[in-house]
Symmetry: D3
């Protein structure tokens, strides 16, 4: 029997009954009672990308196992899984056991393919930062990676909708950097250093809004996130990093350092593109506009990719709306491979 990620298990179960093993952390654990007053346990198990709800009935072996469990523990669950319409995926005849330390570390690290991709993405971010020409922006960005890199790598790009997984912000940022390089080459008037820095920092406030803990998978709500939101927090972070830099070696540089700081903060402040979407200021420079489109393009590309995997198919190639996309979605035109001239 294979060890599946929870996301893969759910995908498999949409096709038919699956016998499988999953690893996850106990997100919540509640003793409940049926209408006719038989007790049962409800366990929510999560991993790097997804969650599943298990139920242990009073006459099952899992029931007594649940009596011993605690929230936050790491489990292996073995059982039969079936898709059950609106109720999602149900587990049958399941049993659980605690994970060993190595298994726990492996789970926390995420599936290998995802980890490799995120490592490569982080690598790209690091290299791109080193390539920044302006020593002030380069130093700022390097200090960010130095001081906050670990936290960055545990942060999701959003709570829902797109890249909503540990490390999702790294993936989103790396892809946006690729886009920004490409667009800066097409529009040579754009300040590439500034644009790349804007990509790096645009969502850095999410390190306090969508971060996952070091040892778990549950994205908490925080007063910082709720009361300020990631744009003001991001501005505060950049200002805090900026204050720690010694600018004396670069005293006479053009443009002036204060100009650099203001334009970078503007990119953070304006990246939602319109006030109604939470930017306290409209985009007022070409770089701010470009950053906004680069951000939205990547978010939408990811929503489509996720939609094709999870949305209900209405007809061949047609899928039900996945919010926040505006309507049903359609499979892309297959690529043309070879053909007569």
């Amino acid at each position: 029997m294979d060890i599946l990620t929870i996301a893969n298990l759910k995908r498999a179960a949409t096709v038919g009954r699956v016998e499988a093993i999953i690893h996850g952390q106990v997100d919540s654990l509640t003793r409940k009672e049926t209408r006719d007053q038989k007790p049962f346990w409800e366990v929510v198990l999560g991993d790097a990308e997804s969650k599943i709800t298990l139920r242990a009935w009073s006459d099952s072996p899992a029931f007594s196992e649940c009596e011993q469990m605690a929230r936050g523990e790491f489990l292996e669950v073995t059982g039969e899984f079936v898709h059950n319409g609106a109720f999602g995926t149900d587990a049958r005849r399941w049993t659980g056991r605690r994970l060993g330390e190595n298994e726990r570390q492996a789970l926390l690290a995420g599936p290998a393919e995802l980890r490799d991709r995120q490592n490569a993405d982080y690598e790209l971010i690091t290299r791109t930062v080193e390539s920044l020409g302006d020593p002030r922006l380069r130093t700022l960005a390097q200090n960010f990676l130095g001081d906050w890199g670990e936290r960055f790598r545990r942060t999701a790009a959003a709570r829902n909708y797109h890249h909503a997984r540990r490390g999702g912000l790294v993936e989103h940022t790396a892809q946006m950097m690729r886009s920004a390089e490409a667009i800066a080459a097409v529009y040579p008037r754009l300040n590439r250093d500034l644009l790349i820095s804007g990509v790096l920092f645009h969502d850095c406030g999410k390190l306090w809004e969508n971060v996952l803990p070091e040892n778990g998978f549950n994205m908490p709500y925080t007063e910082t996130g709720e009361l300020l939101g990631h744009i003001p927090v991001g501005i505060e972070l950049v200002n805090s990093l900026w204050r720690k830099i010694d600018f004396t070696p670069w005293a006479g540089l053009e443009p002036a350092s204060e100009e650099v700081r203001l334009h970078l903060l503007h990119l953070i402040a304006a990246h939602h593109g319109e006030k109604q979407f939470g930017s306290p200021v409209d985009p007022k420079t070409p770089e701010a506009v470009a950053l906004h489109y680069i951000d939205n393009l990547d978010a939408k590309m990811e929503m489509f990719a996720a939609g094709y995997e999870t949305a209900q198919q209405l007809a061949p190639g047609i899928f039900e709306r996945v919010r926040p996309l505006p309507g049903n979605i359609v499979l892309p035109l297959a690529k043309f491979v070879t053909g007569p001239a």
Copy 2:
């Protein structure tokens, strides 16, 4: 004395009084009367990019010249030009003479720099079309350039706001193709052939909405443009080109030709991104979303570029709002050139 384009003349006049020569076509010619009942002539003169209003008072030599002029004629005007606040640029002590045939052709061809840029852009479009892998899209695109290329090159990208000049649609399309190539490289799942074709055809309906005549500079209003708008007209044009293609050589190709046609039409239909901006359908594929952002990005980049040239400066680096941008605009951060590590 130099021959200036009208746009350059206006720019120069904002700084101070200018003696200059301009070439243009008579857009309108009206005999009027002052409040105290002295007659004068009002002449609107246009060239490839701009327009200017001249007034000839009854006691000036230009007055009798105006008596001989007709709408549509091509003139050289020599005079002194001053910027006059809300009234725009005024001409003083001006005289006119009819252009010779060579001068007329030169004027119609546009300023050399603009013409060279548009030629290079058209070249790029042609080359990119040749590189399309799918023979159906390639043939369609080549037939479009073959059948409608001349008209394409006389079309503006819009009536106002951005690229609102003869050939503006070629510039806009070429720049979008560069962007589309770049983005397709960053998102390899995107169907590059389709996306490039979408760029070529997305505004092709404007050949009936924003086209300038062969021998003049006045963009007419047409019932086709008003009653249908460029999206339905563009769909109709692609369908008409499609019907003329012989698909028999490509009978078994994947994806099916009808699929190719529908996806291309979708890109035209959805490129405004939202129904409220005139798309009859929301974008439902990744290519449709990408095309929308590529289009908007280029339009906005051009609005900024024009805004820095024409908007009133409110403070160093700050300019008054230029619609449809949402607020004041700010000069980009100057690029960092060299500096200590």
Copy 3:
């Protein structure tokens, strides 16, 4: 025991337990399992106007019948039906049998009263088309009925909300024609020929968006409908019919044929009344505005009629909101019949 339509059965069941027979087609058929792992079958049955979900438990005779059924089959179901709150109408002690060919044809034809009404409506459309004065519009409309009449008669006016049944588009179109005749008499400047033609063609794109199959009741999703929407498809259909007409007999007619075509296409393009509702162009002629109101009026009248039948009653004469109406609805004031002066 009576044979009821599914809609009538549901209406009856809201009052109390009903013993009844229904005829329908198997829309879907799924074997499921209860929480305590007993198998059951879930069958969705549809007819011309409505759908019902039946469940067959493992200890019932229907269970083994379900083992033999297939999607698309036509059934008679006999049983007891009860309304079960949010769960809709449940069937008890039901049994099924396959319909004979005659029964199947009768079911596909729809309930007699509906069929008669739709036949009368189609008759009216045909007669009105014959009365068109302009031979080009008359020929176009007659060709449409000739080429596409059968498909037209199987098309719904919408997927939800109003006239969402086989033949619903015929009902909607006929009623709009009655309205258009009436309004054209009140506003004699309106071009009645154009307005009537606009009514006929305004939703003709729905023949590819909301059509029901010849032999069933399930409205499929199609790439044509999703990628273009019924407005561009309708324009394409009219253009295709137009190209097949030989205009030589009418060469000198006023207004010119191209004018006629553009104005008719405008009515299709603008009939949603505003861009935000999916029209690529705003209404720019009186006929376009009139068509929009005639369309909306009929849709709303049908929504009220349906609302009074299906919405939950909140108090005597007051019903809960039925989307897309904006709020609760109220029974109309009863008509005054006779009374003292």
Copy 4:
């Protein structure tokens, strides 16, 4: 020389210089000074449909005439009139004289054609009211015409945009009655008595918002109109008329009188169709929805008719936007007159 209405004079002047006589009332009279400190008089003259501004320079005979004039007086003005672009129509070499009593009465009565049309419209309203079947609604409507008919006939349908002239509300109401009769015949479930009554009363609050004085042409602003608006004022008027009716003869009638009153008030309250347009309640009955469309249709038809007369022509058949219509407008397709079958 002809006596022209001001509207006709303005129309004529768009073509070229006109010598003409106009009659009007002095709306305002102001002594001003030019930049170089010469005095002049500015006189605004109005008639039933339009207004014009005249200027009398210090060296003209009109200047001393102005010294004798007073606001509210009725004048005949003889002069030359020219269209002067954005400044409107200018008068040259004009002189004025006071109108005699008969001339004054003729002017107040309005141009004969308009008066005849409004008389016929009022006639239709009266006849339609007599045809109401429900004696309560008939009595209410007759009392309205009896008590407030004169004021009704002096009321405009709006301050701008449509039917913005003395008697305009009568024209608008009559045309809506024709529409309502036609629509009620098409939708027999509609309560025709209620719908007709709704048409009569829907804008009756405008008798306090858009009424013109008995002896003049200036529509005043009132606190009643500003602080309540015509919907609450209309409700108040119907309630006041209702209280004066003796309902005892109709004690047992169905539907109950209170029902009748509520449904009629609903039609007034909901006729703007949406809260954002000033209705305190959404339409909740079919009659309320029908009334809203009938109202909007007539307003839009009138805006088009006015637009074709006053808007600037952009190209043959195409006119610049006239607010509140959403965009440019296009001449309707000419009617087909006779032709081969």
Copy 5:
């Protein structure tokens, strides 16, 4: 065992199983059947502030009790209560008995604390009304309390969202009066008499929209409320009270009585602040604007207070969105009590 209000019972049950007694009125009583066809009764019981749904299974003593119950009866229910997630609070092993007359009166009077608070609030309203300086507004307000006070005290301030309980409108009005007094002191130009009167009458139309019956807890829907809404009904009520006042003693008072009436009606008409929220007219005086903010402030304060009690906690101090508030809510900063200077 304690007698709890239903709201308190629900609050207690979120923590754990509760044995309790509740008093309430039978809101509805329905005999249903389980999927496996065993009968059960569903009883909805309501009190002054809340509702609960009880189920009596066929093998329970409550089942036969239900057979004897009728809608509208008053019951004592004794049982065990458990919170059951999305299904709300379930009752176990419950039995019921009819309330005696005294118990019924006590229940209708509401919980003592609520009753005392509402009595104090009504007292404040009465005193404030007596303090009005303008004898016309004072008389109007006193007549309102005299004629409609009892009904006022049975009215909720809304159907949902805030103060949605018997007497809620008294609480809302009293608190707004406190606010209005405070604001009028800060802005001395405000007409305090008018503002206080506006507070008293702004929602008086709700006496026909959100009133609870004398002997029960179910807020009915009425045609008056649906067809007019509380703003027109409130205007009608004030007009009706106004007509009954003899103004002769105050004939010469300034400002004129008609002015007073119009400004008061404006406050009712405009208190929703914008047309889109149902005001037929925008606020046009400082008092109208102040009333709008005072109203919204109190509604929002009550929504927060209710939200902290009922919304799901997402993290310490953070609660899930409670509509119509715009997002998650956060506990206020605790007050600082004592500390070093």
Copy 6:
């Protein structure tokens, strides 16, 4: 002849020709030319509250005076002033002279009444700050007044619309403090210390957006204001003040200092009430909501006060719309003074 402020001069000139003296600073100075090519000077003169444009014709004594003037100089202008419709107030026969140092200081200090009012308001702010119970908020607020008080007193509350004058922010803040005290007394659950601090700091970012220079009246545009806007700048200022405070004496205080900081920043971030108005986060605490209404109430009260002084009167008591108010405005009901009971 009196020395008038520019605002008072303009008010006086609406009534008739005024001979007066004004003091102001030269805001701009431009040599222009008439259509017939005579030179003239255009001088914009400003004082604490308003601006006026003067023109000096070539044959006037002022002309040669202008030749000697420079931008930024302080002048006394003596002349005749007349209101000239849309062109505003014109000066006739004017002469100018430079102000002495004392006159300059007096002008910069503003009119005595305004200065006194602003001094009293600043006094109130200082006293209220001293009354804050929480030593952290008190210290923060005192440091703000100590470090930035002078700048605060030179700042306007907005660029247009309300309190758009030197010191306007002090007036706005003081009046909001009065309101906040009053509302906190009515809603005792509100955290008064936090609310008062929120009032003080809510617009403190405007010290970099709407500040006037020490020696002049021209509000400059700044990159800080444009690129960040006053909300992020205000957050940055509070954070900067916060960092300078030594919190060790208050180590154990409840609530924790970080909580205090977050809630205060939330009040700044959310005070625009909705994202569409530029708040990066919705109000999530009762204090944030209360602050928003207190802010808007004061802004609107000031807009009405200004509107009654400057807007065109349409009828007695009715004035034309003054943006951003939503429509025409009406004079408040006069207060009732004394009268019979």
